[in-house]
Symmetry: C2
Subunit: 343 residues, 2 copies
């Protein structure tokens, strides 16, 4: 599927979804819309993803099958300056894919244009209506379930999950992906936005996905959300932990993070405490173990220093670890040890 | 406010909400609607709550200000056999209060009748629309926050909370009540149904209530939900634990419960494990302690055996405990020790 990705004024650093799609999705990205960078190319900013021209508006984009809104402003609202891009896309018969909290399907003009031009609107963040409470049966699937868990939000759980997924598949493992957030759902073209479901159905929504795919693969890699000690998002994390009944956990952390992002009074506890907490909390529902770690060393400029940080991290977890982005090459010892622990 | 309470075919054993209202609410219950028991009285079944006649239908009920739906069938749907009771109530100008998942306000006939007769419909389970993520500031209120936490669902957290609240107030303490479920919300005439909010807002919805009332009282007693080891509902429990930033916890348990209700493969862990788990999970966000226990000894016929069970429970928690329903009299040593630990 050929797509254009809207990322006005945010590409690449504040367009996590757009960059995730460029890096991991099977879509052919024909253009990125960013009026601030029109005329440049993706490769001028990010070098290890598929390349595409950057254009000022949808009218300048080549023929595509869909327009994807690839940014998520704080609050998740729709920016009216994007309206002409969306209407242009719909008038051209393109489908619309959006991860905004504001549902484009509920916009009268968009709904009418979609109808007139036989285009579909997929609001990725709208949860399905038939969710229910967990039955506690996710452990009955044939696949081994591996869940990424975090020390905080935005430490790179989705990225770590995708990198480990690709590395495992390169080694011949049969791994399915269970996305729980908007970017993962767009990449996989399937999934439920766990942070948007009714709280009583948090575990149930994860379980439903595990049951749907769990007998098709040897392994399922489940994208984690938030952190079990997060002042705002721990409910989502806890629901995913119990709903997935994960067999193995991979703890994700960002090097140097000392306080919970946005909650600077809340210190990041010692890493060994996270291991105990995730394992102790999971145990009564389903026994599990932190078998490996993924460290995001983005902020460390020097490779040797990053290697040291990974080593310290592995010692603290008492488990193999790597930075799967930085040191994820197929011939790297670190990722081998991590995959051996996971698979 | 004078009310009638609908509890057809379920009163009293499967009408938890109706019995809770009779026991704890300030409403004057003028009639209970139960077509199976028409002609009898509440006192024929339950002896320690306000008394009222039981009638077959709303047409037989005396003048009231509101009709409350006091049962919650599995799935929370509306039973069409209740329709004439509801329409009769609305035609008489009575307000309607319902805790069903099915929102009566969205029923065309009810909405029209309410409009015509100047009656209000309050769907207790509909969460407010302006919820948001927690800011992690519930600890800034002046009140000490006390949260009831459970070993499982349906162990009597709401009842324990209400009994401790009444006992504390009898001793002169200034205590506010923070309800999180439908019965508590009906009793308090205020509150947010935490199990129905968007999962990302679980902690935030609790925090908002704490902030709203936390400077008006010396203590806030927060009604807990679910259990931190529940296969389906732990997300809600975790969100309440972190969102409330509770200063003290009261662990609620039902004597003899050995497996999670409805999830018989999931054993109830040792009680000391619950203490560690709740405290360890809370600590990174806000340090807290299980200071007391409430044991539901309903299933134990003999008072002496119930006292033994309470003593064993207290030993396992290493904290004072009681059954606040059975041994909640003002002159009982057990409840004194529990309140001393809480206040």
């Amino acid at each position: 599927m050929r797509v254009a990705v809207l990322a006005h004024e945010k590409f690449p650093d504040r367009a996590k979804t757009a960059v995730g799609l460029l890096r991991y999705a099977d879509y052919e990205v024909e253009a990125v819309l960013d009026r601030d960078n029109a005329g440049k190319r993706v490769s001028d900013f990010v070098d290890d993803v598929q390349d595409a021209p950057i254009v000022a508006e949808m009218a300048d984009a080549p023929e595509v099958d869909a327009l994807i809104v690839g940014i998520a402003p704080i609050g998740g609202g729709f920016d009216e300056s994007w309206r002409s891009d969306v209407t242009t896309a719909l008038e051209r018969g393109c489908d619309l894919i959006s991860g905004l909290h504001y549902f484009l399907e509920d916009d009268e003009e968009f709904a009418r244009l979609a109808d007139e031009n036989d285009a579909d609107i997929w609001d990725v963040r709208r949860p399905p209506e038939d969710l229910s409470v967990a039955q506690g049966v996710a452990d009955e699937v044939e696949a081994e379930v591996v869940l990424t868990v975090g020390t905080d939000c935005s430490v790179g759980k989705m990225t770590a999950t995708m990198e480990l997924l690709e590395a495992a598949r390169e080694r011949g493992a049969d791994v399915g992906f269970v996305p729980t957030g908007q970017t993962g759902i767009m990449i996989e073209n399937w999934g439920t936005p766990i942070d948007r479901v009714v709280s009583d159905f948090t575990a149930g929504a994860v379980e439903e996905m595990i049951l749907e795919r769990g007998d098709d693969h040897d392994y399922l890699f489940v994208e984690g959300q938030g952190s079990i000690v997060h002042p705002a998002y721990s409910a989502v994390t806890c629901g995913i932990l119990h709903g997935s009944m994960a067999d193995r956990l991979v703890l994700c952390h960002e090097a140097g993070r000392e306080a919970i992002h946005g909650y600077e009074d809340t210190a990041v506890p010692p890493l060994a405490d996270y291991v105990d907490l995730y394992e102790d909390l999971a145990r009564p529902v389903h026994e599990t173990e932190v078998v490996a770690g993924a460290l995001n060393t983005w902020e460390i400029a020097d490779d040797a220093a990053a290697r040291d940080a990974v080593e310290t991290f592995a010692d603290e977890l008492d488990a193999p670890a790597t930075d799967p982005v930085r040191f994820g090459d197929a011939d790297d010892d670190g990722i081998d040890a991590v995959l051996e622990a996971i698979l």
